[in-house]
Amino acid sequence: MKTMMKGSILALGLSALAAGTALAQEATFVMTARLVGAPTYNPIKATKLNTATTLIYDRLVVQDADQSFHGQLATSWESSPDGMLWTFKLKPGVKFHNGEPFNAKTIEWWVPQFKGTENAFTVEAVDKVEVVDDVTVRFHMKHPDPNLLFNLASSFMCVPEPKSYEALGDKFGVTEAIGTGPYKMQQFTVGQQTVLVRNDDYKSASDLSKNQGPAKFKKLTFREIGEESTAYLELKTGGADVLVNVPTDFLPRIQTDKAVKLVTIPGNEVVYMPINTSVEPFTDIKVREATAFALNQKEILTSLYGGNGETADTFLISSLKESQVDPKYKISYDPERSKKVFDAAGWKPGADGIRVKDGKRLEVKLWGQNGTEFKRLAEIVQAQLKAVGMQADISIIDAGSINAQYRKKTEHQLAVRAYQWTNADIVDWFFAAKRAGYPNVSMFNDPEAEKLNDIAMNKSKTWDERVANFTKYHEYVLSQYPFAPIYQPVQSLAYGKRVVLPEKIRGVGFSSQSMIDIAPAN
């Protein structure tokens, strides 16, 4: 024991001498809240993947924060003018973790694997994949899909190694996960932690990464901690180096903490209040309009989120082109307009301030999902609606059953919700009549909207055409007030003293593009 002690004291002394060169070899990342509980690292079959996935695998293309596309396993690509043919050039000489080569044959095998899975929609438009040569593939399309690159950049389109994928079956992504990424999966305990070790041969980083070689840490541990306070305390006490997703309502507190640094990237999330258009009193578009203009987005931004992030005034995140609608369609706090429209609709203030029409009080239900953030948000919204004369009674419903409740269609009126998505087709997902109940919580069903939806979803050949069509559809939806926009969070990472993060995070989220640029602090 004594000699051991001596040994370690000696080692300590030595490392002090060598300070500056001896850097940390390991780092611990903590994921909390919704990043907890991804059951598998099988990108093809997963419906939920966490941050570590893009370190194990590479994708054909990746996105930058401005939504532009950059090659990773693909070096270049082009599509024919009619959108029926896509050609990808692949990076030569890339090898999987088990030594198998990555080439055009991999892609030919890979695309059909999606058939019948929950992720089938991603390559649904691809008819077949043709191998032109070792590093060239051609996608023959069933119909044009301007969204193809977007899909290819999602983490569900991480490319796994075919042989082990076939051999392991359902165990792939659970016991072993083999890709071409900068890290190899060493151990994975669902809900607990994932241990990754460096792939020393890595050289397929995209041009978004400064580091074009292998990653800088030998070993990474991704821990999953459900309780947000605990996750933050791990970072604060040095039990972790990076908190991958800082809950937005924690930001004000972290900003005052000197031991912890914060990096923010544009958000990919919108918080909003759907309005059930099919039940009284919201069948009246005037009531919807008045309600939508009653929410004070700025107050919510400052008081609940400490001024971090942006207010929302449309349904889409502001980095999407389709969010740039004609200003007259934007929805933001206007209490005078709200009161005027309520009056015009016949809802007059009663004795206690709550509006009344034909002897009925303006009482509605406001639903929220279980969790501190939504609960606090619901409480603020409740107070703001009261200020214009609407009484909202809050029900907090747990995440597992709230969608089933929405499917009952007539039980809910208002709700506070959030979605995370970086494509305009989310307007279709939440407002198409065929999905009324859930996800179309607003029960929005409008013939004009359906027509514009069909054009946007199915009649666009190129990306620009798609943008124009979706903008029109989006504008029309806004004009009908089936929801009120509230807030666009930022994505934030917090990190401790032992690591240095790149100043600018590249990508629509925190993924391999910037993660391999993380370096030990010296």
Partner: protein, 310 residues
């Protein structure tokens, strides 16, 4: 004794069947289904229907129950739908953590509980007695999540003696075990003290005292031995609490465990997982109660007769 044990075991069979039926049905009463966690943006209602069929959720409940029971009989708890692993594997991964935490807490509360109970009973109504019982009462009334958070703030953040969370090193066990242990200590100390006080008023104690047997010898050799009976009963009853009662503490300390696994499964409406966890818990509790009863019967032949006669 053997006959008693077999009798007692046979009595468990109908209970087990009833428990399994309730366990199976109860999760289906919960609104929502596991598919909410599998549906992707962009997928169609047809895909949803396909998935429901794939997991056999389109069958009548009784048919599903029959299949499940048949599987259990062959030792298979099925596969978790959302987690995509055999339920038995998930339980095997989490059970050791529950046992370590529960076991440590149990040992802690038994040792500390009995010692304080004996001391409090021996110095009954002294300042020591009151202080100890007061402290214990305080510890047992605090909600465990509150105690857990304060423990983290104090011993992990302020003093940095222990890690905040997880189960990766031995010292991560200390705070959660202490949090749970305090409640158990209070219970065991209280039962020990009460039993000892009661027994010390019995005639045989007076006889021993009259014979001049030393005080501590009477306390430890004669009274404590008999007082162990109710303590054992309580411990037998606490098996379920040891395995599944630590949910709150596991959650705050981000520890794996059977309780957390069950709550995760419940949140995801993962039917096979919830059923499997509940069944394991129920079996453990039944065995715990059984062992408690048997131990009692072994210590007290009268009870054996009484139970056998019923």
């Amino acid at each position: 004794m053997l006959r008693f044990a077999i009798r007692r075991l046979a009595m468990l069979v109908p209970v087990f069947l009833a428990v399994s039926l309730v366990i199976f049905m109860i999760i289906h009463l919960v609104p929502g289904d596991p598919l909410e966690h599998l549906i992707q943006v962009g997928s169609s209602p047809e895909q949803r229907a396909q998935m429901i069929a794939r997991y056999g959720l389109d069958q009548p409940l009784l048919v599903q129950y029959g299949r499940w029971l048949a599987k259990i009989a062959s030792g298979d708890l099925g596969d978790a739908i959302v987690m995509r692993r055999p339920v038995s594997q998930l339980i095997a991964e989490n059970m050791p953590h529950s046992l370590t935490l529960g076991g440590t807490a149990l040992i802690f509360s038994t040792v500390v509980g009995i010692v304080t109970g004996v001391l409090a009973a021996s110095f009954r109504d002294s300042l020591f007695d009151r202080a100890v019982m007061g402290f214990i009462l305080l510890g047992s009334t605090l909600p465990s999540f509150w105690l857990a958070l304060l423990m983290i703030l104090m011993f992990a953040v302020q003093f940095e003696w222990f890690p905040v969370s997880g189960a990766r090193t031995w010292d991560a066990l200390v705070l959660p075990a202490l949090t749970i242990g305090i409640g158990g200590t209070a219970l065991i100390a209280r039962v020990t003290r009460a039993a000892m006080v009661e027994i010390s008023q019995r005639d045989f104690v007076r006889v021993l005292q009259a014979k001049g047997v030393p005080f501590w010898r009477i306390q430890l050799r004669h009274i404590l031995q008999q007082a162990m009976l109710p303590v054992m009963t309580i411990l037998g009853l606490r098996i379920g609490w040891i395995l599944g009662g630590a949910v709150t503490v596991e959650y705050v300390f981000a520890r794996p465990g059977l309780g957390s696994l069950l709550i995760t499964g419940l949140g995801q409406r993962d039917y096979p997982l919830v059923q499997g966890c509940l069944l394991m818990l129920a079996i453990a509790v039944m065995l715990g109660t059984l062992i408690g009863d048997l131990a009692q019967a072994a210590l007290d032949p009268r009870l054996r007769e009484a139970m056998g006669a019923r």
